[in-house]
């Protein structure tokens, strides 16, 4: 697994591009386009959580959708009950993070092997799918919020200016919130990875035995990474629910769990920009295919994934990056020597 050079120049460039998109998009694209991009961003936040725990923490969670969906449902249920969206947003991060911490505690301190972490997380999201799917009827209400079973929860109140439930966010405001959240999450994860904690996390991915023999308790590090990943996925779910004012159990489903893996694989495992671009690209592709009738969308997606796994197994970003590295002089490309200094 190769990690792309992560010098501060590349990082600043990404943040700059994020801000250009944040403020530029509403100026150049129609309202419909902005709304569409908002859901791409929700998926990108989701992909970041997967890319962080898998590509850097080496944790094979195949059911990250559990935390994504949980974030969405927690937001929906709490905002219906509370009215003001401020605390529901925080809960949509905190509850999935706490659930990830609980699940992670049993997995990592129980010495579950990597493959079984994948099986367990996948099982958890399927269990959540089935549980929420069977909550139709009046019996399954939390406060004033009816879970609605397989029909989902429609008319979820939108975000509002903190403290003013009547000042609801319009589509453009929601865009600023979503894209701003994506940039913040990126900066947060970059910061974590640049810290010494982050170096140990990557070291665990490379060789857990060595890390333990050096005196680090790898289980604690993995638990923290998994918890952060759960919180980030929850935030993505919150944005997703806001985008359509709707959430349904399919968010926990196999398709949702698999989709985020595809985002990460296509974009590039072991990078942070990769999963974001993977989410944007695949979601865009889906929206294009959706407007025509010739080809089945799932067929095309499957073909794209197979093509990537066979031809570009590293994913887009690492390949493009090394291509740039070969074309440009060394000081721009950030070679190993420089990275080591930058990170030391």
């Amino acid at each position: 697994m190769s990690s792309v050079p992560s010098g501060w120049r590349g990082c600043l460039l990404v943040i700059l591009a994020g801000f250009v998109l944040l403020f530029g998009l509403p100026q150049v694209v129609s309202l419909y386009g902005v709304v569409q991009m908002t859901v791409f961003v929700a998926m990108a936040v989701f992909a970041l959580s997967q890319g962080f725990i898998w590509g850097f923490g080496g944790i094979m969670s195949f059911g990250q959708s559990a935390f994504f969906g949980l974030g969405g449902y927690v937001y929906a249920v709490s905002v219906i009950n509370m009215g003001d969206s401020t605390i529901p947003v925080l809960l949509a991060i905190a509850v999935p993070a706490a659930f990830a911490a609980l699940l992670g505690y049993f997995m990592f301190f129980g010495r579950i092997s990597d493959a079984y972490v994948g099986v367990i997380t996948l099982t958890v999201t399927i269990i959540l799918f089935n549980v929420v799917n069977s909550t139709s009827g009046d019996f399954y209400t939390i406060g004033q919020a009816a879970l609605g079973g397989f029909n989902g929860m429609p008319n979820v109140p939108p975000l509002n200016v903190p403290g003013y439930p009547d000042a609801a966010f319009g589509p453009i405001d929601t865009w600023y919130f979503a894209m701003g959240a994506l940039i913040l999450v990126y900066i947060l994860l970059r910061g974590i990875l640049a810290s010494r904690f982050g170096r140990v996390v990557v070291a665990i991915r490379e060789n857990e035995t060595r890390v333990q023999l050096l005196g680090y308790d790898a289980r604690v590090y993995k638990l923290l990474v998994f918890t952060i990943g759960g919180g980030v996925a929850g935030l993505g779910g919150c944005i997703f629910t806001n985008w359509g004012a709707f959430i349904s159990p399919t968010i926990f489903g196999l398709a949702s769990a698999a989709q985020v893996l595809i985002f990460v694989l296509v974009g590039g495992l072991g990078t942070l920009v990769g999963p974001v671009l993977g989410a944007f690209g695949i979601e865009y592709l889906i929206s294009i295919i959706g407007t025509q009738q010739t080809l089945n969308a799932n067929l095309v997606l499957g073909a794209v994934l197979v093509a990537f796994v066979l031809l570009v197994p590293q994913g887009l970003v690492p390949v493009v990056w090394s291509g740039i590295g070969r074309l440009l002089p060394r000081r721009f490309a950030g070679t190993g020597e420089q990275t080591a200094e930058a990170q030391s």
Binding site: L213, G215, Y216, T335, T339, E341
Partner: protein, 245 residues
């Protein structure tokens, strides 16, 4: 800093240490004592239980029976990170390094536990110099030759600043010059730290050893000065054959 410990308490003490895998007894009631600052060589034919013994000492395997004490503290069955924090570092037989990280980062991660960034940096630079890796600090460890990877691992163990260093076949896969340098390095390390070295290369053993412990079939066969061990008929029979002559 650790408090000075009276000489009476050995640095490492194994009593009746036993490791069973199903019906196989890999290490059988081994009694082993190492003093502070001692340099000990461990030899024995393949499958004698040397690496298994190392794994028991570092917590990678939980002993089936017996006790392991570090400076009198019972660490039998403790987690590897717990034992590492008590001052034990190990270079394993198959190098355990971070292939996807640079040489510098490998050593930095080792040096950085519970230390300030500045002192971690200082230790990293000193260690890299000591092991003569300064020329390749930016290289990815996965791309290095086997001998160099061995040294990167030795560097991570040194950067950890342990009181007891276990080296499992440190000279394996090294060129003649590298072997000489490794022997020199081990003698240098021994001025401040205790070591146990597992090796097969008899010339190498003669370069560094005073006391040698011979393992055979999970038990200690002989424990004596290197010259007497080399001359011992039982040792020659099980292990050395003609190559020691």
């Amino acid at each position: 800093m650790k408090l000075p410990v009276p000489d009476a308490t050995p640095l490492l003490e194994a009593k009746g240490a036993t490791m069973r895998f199903g019906g196989v007894v890999a290490v059988n009631e081994v009694d082993f004592t190492l003093r502070e600052m001692e340099l000990r060589c461990l030899i024995g034919p393949n499958g004698a239980g040397k690496s298994t013994f190392f794994k028991m000492l570092t917590g990678q395997l939980k002993p089936s029976a017996g006790q392991i004490r570090l400076r009198g503290e019972n660490v039998t069955g403790a987690e590897p990170h717990h034992i590492a924090r008590r001052g034990v570092g190990i270079k394993t037989q198959v190098p355990n390094v971070f292939n996807g990280l640079s040489v510098y980062e490998n050593v930095f991660v080792a040096a950085g536990r519970r230390k300030s960034r500045a002192s971690a940096k200082r230790i990293t630079e000193q260690t890299l110099e000591r092991v003569r890796l300064t020329g390749i600090t930016g290289r990815m460890v996965g791309q290095l030759a086997h001998g160099q990877r061995q040294w990167v691992e030795i560097a991570t163990v040194l950067a950890q600043e342990p009181d007891l260093i276990l080296l499992d076949e440190p000279a394996a896969g090294m060129t003649h010059d590298e072997v000489l340098r490794t022997a020199e390095l081990i003698r240098e390390i021994n001025r401040a730290q205790a070591l146990i070295v597992v090796e097969h290369d008899m010339q190498f053993i003669r370069m560094i050893a005073t006391t040698v412990t011979v393992f055979n079939q999970g038990r200690i066969l002989v424990e004596d000065h290197v010259d007497r061990v080399m001359a011992n008929q039982a040792v020659r029979d099980v292990y050395l054959g003609k190559q020691a002559a």
